[in-house]
């Protein structure tokens, strides 16, 4: 089983980190993973885009041409929407993207990632510091929820992911990020529970 | 007068650190003198079997033919980098090079200055004869104003070429080196046509010894030997000694520019 993801946004949104975390989450789940950061002319103008491929088999090409999941952290990220596989999922940061262009053959999940992250001020390691920076972790939680993961089961794995990446001084941010993942997970799970009519998202099969 | 070639070959007897192979150095050239001084110093230090010579490009390109030690050939100007690469992994070895003015002060100036600035524990002997000898007498970075060379056929014009470059002062301007010295190596004429003053060779012998000692103490050592090139200067050997004393000695004054470990004080 193979999952292909494009994560896009602009510099400063933690797009590369989100893609790294997502890839590493798959790795600790026993999959082969490939992560490709932005390269070449696309890196100009602060646009950031990366590919994540996770597969039970060795990965042929790390390049994502038709993703199962597009994580759009800002409006320009929707440029990649035409690439999304039919039946795929568009996960949008609705704090910045209010209007999603129509594509009837994909599932759209809107998560106000910046707003949810900003509400986590009590978890900030620096009192009073804005926590909206954790929006990328909120989106990671949303991805887990879309895949119908079980938060209680994944929490330890997610903590392991953050311990791998957030070392030394950054370690103080682990509790905030775990909380942000949980927040995104719970928000998205509620969304899915409320949209009773929608069919099971395909990522339940592909991402997990 | 003992010629450099004779000094190297026979007059003072053979040395185990010399191969005994006749050199290609021209009559009156100080390269032969320096080769002998280096061999003597290595024997005094008992260092022959832990020494690596890095041959440069220029008249010293065949130094490994005459010095009976291990040797590596460096590309033109890169000897200080090659030496650093040896010394970084084999600090137990005594590593040195004989570079010319073109090698060290022109094409290899970056390698010289950065090795010096990092204080690499290596020893560099620069033979400054103010001309490109090996390639047939072209202008060197140290060629004095007005000197006729094959690439300055009307004399070196400083407006076009900039002034002669002072390698010792450049090296001494850096914090890294532990020992920087300039020696006037040629014999100098005296009032009597029968006698010549060979003080330069004696000072040179001490400087060579000190430069190796400084390396053994972990410091970067650089000795510039102001020398002659009668063949490419188009002068007789005797005239070249006079010219060196008159023109090069004031342009490149002998002196001790750095002695961090105080090796000269003892």
């Amino acid at each position: 089983m193979k999952t292909e993801v494009i994560v896009a946004g602009h510099g400063g949104q933690g797009v590369l980190e989100l893609a790294n975390w997502l890839a590493y989450f798959h790795l600790v789940n026993g999959r082969h993973v490939a992560y490709t950061p932005s390269y070449g002319p696309e890196t100009r103008g602060g646009k950031v885009k990366c590919y994540v491929v996770a597969s039970d088999e060795p990965i042929d090409s790390p390049i994502v041409e038709a993703p199962d999941l597009l994580i759009a952290m800002n409006i320009p990220s929707l440029d990649y929407l035409p690439l999304l596989k039919s039946g795929g999922t568009l996960l949008v940061n609705s704090s910045l993207v209010q209007e999603v262009p129509g594509r009837s053959d994909v599932i759209v999940v809107e998560v106000p990632a910046i707003d949810l992250a900003a509400a986590l001020a009590p978890y900030s390691p620096v009192p009073g510091k804005d926590t909206s920076i954790a929006a990328n972790s909120v989106m990671l939680g949303a991805v887990l929820a879309i895949a119908h993961d079980d938060w209680a089961r994944e929490q330890a794995l997610i903590e392991g992911v953050f311990r791998h990446f957030l070392t030394d001084r950054k370690a103080a941010y682990i509790p905030l990020n775990v909380q942000a993942v949980k927040s995104g997970f719970e928000f998205t799970s509620r969304l899915e529970a409320s949209s009773v009519a929608s069919p099971a998202p395909p990522l339940a099969a592909t991402a997990r | 007068m003992i010629g450099a070639q004779e000094l190297y070959e026979t007059k003072l007897g053979p040395l185990p650190t010399l191969t005994g192979k006749p050199t290609h150095y021209c009559a009156g050239c100080e390269h032969g003198t320096l080769t002998r001084l280096i061999a003597s110093a290595l024997e005094d230090l008992g260092a022959r079997e832990r020494t690596v010579l890095v041959s440069s490009v220029g008249c010293s390109v065949l130094a490994h033919e005459y010095l009976n030690v291990d040797a590596v050939q460096a590309p033109h100007g890169r000897a200080p980098a090659v030496m650093a690469g040896i010394k970084r992994v084999r600090p137990d070895l005594l590593v040195f090079s004989i570079q010319g003015d073109g090698d060290a002060a022109s094409i290899g100036l970056l390698e010289l200055l950065y090795a010096a600035n990092r204080g690499e524990p290596i020893t560099i002997f620069l033979v400054n004869n103010a001309i490109y000898g090996m390639t047939g007498g072209q202008m060197a970075p140290t060629t004095p104003e007005g000197m006729v060379t094959t690439t300055t056929p009307f004399g070196r014009d400083l407006h076009q070429t900039g002034p002669p470059l002072d390698a010792s002062k450049l090296v001494a301007s850096l914090e890294g080196p532990a020992y920087v010295k300039r020696v006037f190596l040629p014999v100098t004429p005296t009032p009597s046509p029968e006698f010549f003053n060979a003080r330069g060779a004696l000072e040179g012998a001490r400087a060579v010894r000190h430069a190796f000692e400084v390396q053994q103490k972990g410091g970067f050592a650089f000795v510039e030997f102001v020398s002659t090139c009668s063949v490419n200067w188009k002068l007789s050997v005797l005239e070249s000694k006079r010219y060196a004393a008159k023109v090069l000695a004031p342009l490149f004054p002998a002196g001790l520019y750095r002695d961090r470990f105080g090796v000269e004080a003892r």
């Binding site: 999959r31 070449g40 041409e65 791998h164 | 460096a74 590309p75 650093a84 690469g85 084999r90 970056l110």
Partner: protein, 368 residues
């Protein structure tokens, strides 16, 4: 699958692969997209994790870096330098001397777009420079081409083994994509290897001295030396060709691709085979020596269509044509400027070379 896997960029994996094979010294000048190599090594040098790693210097120039590498290699120690295109050009002087003095050293080129400054995107345009000598005078290097992060980690070990076995520079030719790509990997256990270093400068032993020189003033001496280098490379051509093949047994069309292009080609072959299109892949692992024996065998076995996919304006395709000698049709799909073809484009180009592709083209021509 091993649970204890790492997740590293290609450049980082290469650095650790070198350390795990006993790297003694690294000298380099920073250049994108290879800088993670010195950055990773600097950190490990500072930590002192690898006791054999005795020297790390950020050199003042590419020239200084390659010549420091030469100095360390001359002592018989394992020395490496890494760079990208513009720096690879500067290193050619030293590589020529190292080849002439028969010094074992590892040079990494993370190929970016060129000529000139170009850009930071992936290209394979240093293929000629790496495989045909590159510097002045006549010599060849062994050139290894990884196509994954695990191979970036593995090839320093292979590189040093070949470098010491044949006493010559080995070039590890990666591309900007592989340098930046992160994948899961498990570091292989590399057995400690002892190489013959009796030629190295360590100080003379009595009458026995070690002289490493590229200067042979007597004409017959230089002639003999160059002949020696040439016969050594011929031995390498006979013994060290390495390649990987996928689905070539019954292939009508064989794609020839290395590095990141081989990854695209893998995807294309899988997709075409799913549709029963008989396409295979020959992936050169040694670009020099070029895997001519396997390519020959495929052509002898009936393959009549070859598709070269590479990120340059046609370089490896020349070697493929040299081997094919007109016995097979050789087409190429090229991208430059840091761009990559899509796997769909690779698929289409390969399918066009099949008999059904030919038939379709003919029908389209008739319709028009």
């Amino acid at each position: 699958m091993n649970a204890d896997r790492d997740f590293l960029k290609g450049n980082e994996a290469l650095a650790y692969g070198a350390l795990r094979t006993g790297l003694n010294a690294y000298y380099g000048y920073p250049i994108t997209p290879s800088s993670e190599i010195p950055e990773t090594l600097a950190a490990e040098f500072g930590r002192g994790t690898y006791p054999e790693f005795r020297a790390f210097v950020q050199a003042a120039s590419e020239l200084e870096a390659i010549n420091m590498t030469i100095g360390t290699a001359a002592t018989g120690a394992k020395a490496m330098t890494a760079t990208s295109g513009p720096g690879f050009s500067l290193k050619q002087e030293g590589i020529s001397y190292a080849a002439a003095m028969e010094l074992p050293l590892l040079i990494v080129d993370v190929n970016r777009s060129g000529p000139g400054l170009g850009n930071l995107g992936p290209e394979q345009s240093d293929y000629f420079q790496a495989t045909k000598g590159g510097g002045h005078g006549g010599y060849r290097n062994i050139v290894l081409a990884p196509d994954s992060v695990p191979e970036m980690a593995l090839f320093p070990s292979l590189g040093f083994e070949l470098a010491f076995r044949y006493r010559m520079p080995v070039i590890l030719l990666a591309d900007a994509f592989l340098g930046q790509l992160k994948e899961d990997l498990t570091f292989p256990e590399v057995p400690a290897r002892e190489f013959d270093t009796s030629w190295a400068v360590t100080g003379a032993r009595g009458d026995h001295r070690h002289v490493l020189s590229s200067l042979h003033l007597e004409l017959p001496d230089q002639s003999r030396h160059v002949e020696h280098l040439r016969s050594k490379y011929e031995e390498i051509v006979g013994a060290e060709q390495r390649s990987e093949e996928i689905a070539t047994a019954d292939a009508e069309v064989v794609i020839v691709a290395y590095g990141i292009c081989a990854r695209l080609a893998r995807a294309a072959v899988r997709s075409l085979r799913d549709r029963s299109v008989r396409v295979g892949l020959l992936r050169p692992i040694t670009l020099a020596p070029f895997p001519q024996d396997r390519l020959n065998a495929l052509i002898d076995g009936g393959v009549r269509n070859l598709l070269v996919v590479e990120l340059n304006s046609g370089q490896m395709v020349e070697d493929v044509r040299l081997v094919a000698e007109g016995r097979a049709r050789v087409e190429s799909l090229e991208r430059v400027g840091g761009l990559l073809p899509s796997s769909g484009e690779v698929e289409a180009a390969a399918e066009d070379l099949t008999s059904s592709g030919d038939l379709r083209s003919a029908l389209e021509a008739m319709v028009q």
